[in-house]
């Protein structure tokens, strides 16, 4: 069978769109079951935490820069800095460390 890139893109689009839209359109009422409620409440934190570490440390060319950037991020958030400040500071940390030391 001859595959076209257009069809590949269409197929992947339909798959990823359905996955995302079905729960959002079908679940319309607040969920009352305590387990489901707790589960959905915890999901975001677990997912984001799992995605952050160790991926953040492995994303950079030098692992040390990645670890430093993770620490800078945690400290800044702990002292109530906002999202853009934290994101920029993490990038700058990596850039400066890799530029001067590695």
């Amino acid at each position: 069978m001859n595959h076209s890139i257009f069809m590949y893109i269409l197929v992947s689009f339909l798959t990823s769109y359905c996955i995302r839209v079905l729960p959002l359109t079908l679940i319309r009422k607040p969920i009352t079951n305590r387990f489901s409620k707790s589960f959905l409440y915890y999901v975001p934190y677990v997912t984001l935490a799992v995605m952050t570490f160790p991926a953040m440390v492995q994303a950079t060319d030098s692992q040390i820069a990645g670890i430093a950037s993770l620490c800078v991020g945690i400290v800044l958030v702990y002292f109530d800095q906002g999202l853009p400040v934290v994101a920029c500071a993490c990038c700058m940390t990596v850039f400066l460390l890799e530029f001067f030391f590695v």
């Binding site: 595959h3 890139i5 069809m7 590949y8 893109i9 269409l10 197929v11 992947s12 689009f13 798959t15 990823s16 769109y17 996955i19 995302r20 839209v21 079905l22 729960p23 959002l24 359109t25 079908l26 679940i27 607040p30 969920i31 305590r34 387990f35 707790s38 589960f39 959905l40 409440y41 915890y42 999901v43 975001p44 934190y45 677990v46 997912t47 984001l48 935490a49 799992v50 995605m51 160790p54 953040m56 994303a59 950079t60 060319d61 030098s62 950037s69 991020g73 109530d80 800095q81 999202l83 853009p84 934290v86 994101a87 920029c88 993490c90 990038c91 990596v94 850039f95 890799e98 530029f99």
Partner: protein
């Protein structure tokens, strides 16, 4: 009110857009190797809005795999969005119209989802559209640029930009951890088990998308049984 929400969303979406540009640039390089031109790459990214999912899809194209394989790979790499979509359904007011649900659903990504759940009260669709406006096009354009420009951008810049998204995640998970010790504990457990999963034989060979789903389901289930949320936490 709505205009303010849109502007706020756009502002919060700018760092995401910058991060997306860098990540999709790298993705573009992979697509170029699979034979996609800059227009293909643009639409691939615009339609899928998923780094791991698109990368998996690109591998299928590279191998001239079947459409069924394409569905399966996309499904596995993006399955976590289904969980996020369930979670986000609770963050929308029950009155939210279907058309808004269809549009918001399109852009459930790790980062935009994170932004959405960090909002107080119900999510205003306009806020989400603002964030989408700042981030969806950079994602698609970044892919095209990656395909066209290849390896021109110095690697030190790509390396620095690659942590932007994680910095954002920290800004979302840490503030609630300060107030709620259960969340702090869950975050630490997640860090540790996620790290273990990258070194343990067997588990480490699973794709990162699959690992994320497994860990999310297991850890969130245990937490819900051991420490079910009280009404006042929600």
């Amino acid at each position: 009110m709505n205009k303010k929400e849109f502007t706020q969303g756009f502002k919060d979406g700018i760092p995401i857009g910058l991060g997306y540009f860098a990540v999709s640039f790298a993705l573009g390089i992979a697509m170029k190797n699979a034979g996609l031109n800059w227009i293909d790459g643009f639409f691939m990214s615009l339609c899928n809005l998923a780094s791991a999912g698109e990368y998996a899809g690109t591998q299928v194209i590279l191998a001239s795999g079947s459409y069924f394989e394409m569905i399966l790979m996309t499904l596995i790499a993006n399955a976590r969005y289904m969980l996020m979509s369930c979670s986000l359904s609770q963050k929308l007011s029950p009155e939210t119209k279907t058309v808004h649900r269809l549009c918001i659903g399109y852009a459930i990504t790790d980062e935009l989802f994170a932004l959405a759940i960090s909002r107080k009260d119900y999510l205003n669709p306009l806020y989400f559209y603002g964030a989408m406006a700042a981030s969806v096009l950079p994602w698609a354009i970044g892919t095209s640029c990656g395909i066209i420009l290849g390896n021109i951008l110095p690697s030190i810049i790509v390396s620095a930009l690659s942590v932007a998204l994680y910095g954002m995640f920290l800004a979302i998970i840490i503030p609630p951890s300060k107030k709620n010790h259960t969340i702090l504990f869950i975050v630490l457990i997640s860090f540790i088990s996620s790290y273990l999963c990258t070194i343990l034989p067997g588990i480490r060979s699973l794709s990162s998308g699959t690992r994320i789903i497994l860990l999310t389901v297991i850890i969130a289930s245990i937490a819900s049984i051991v420490k079910p949320v009280k009404e006042e936490d929600l």
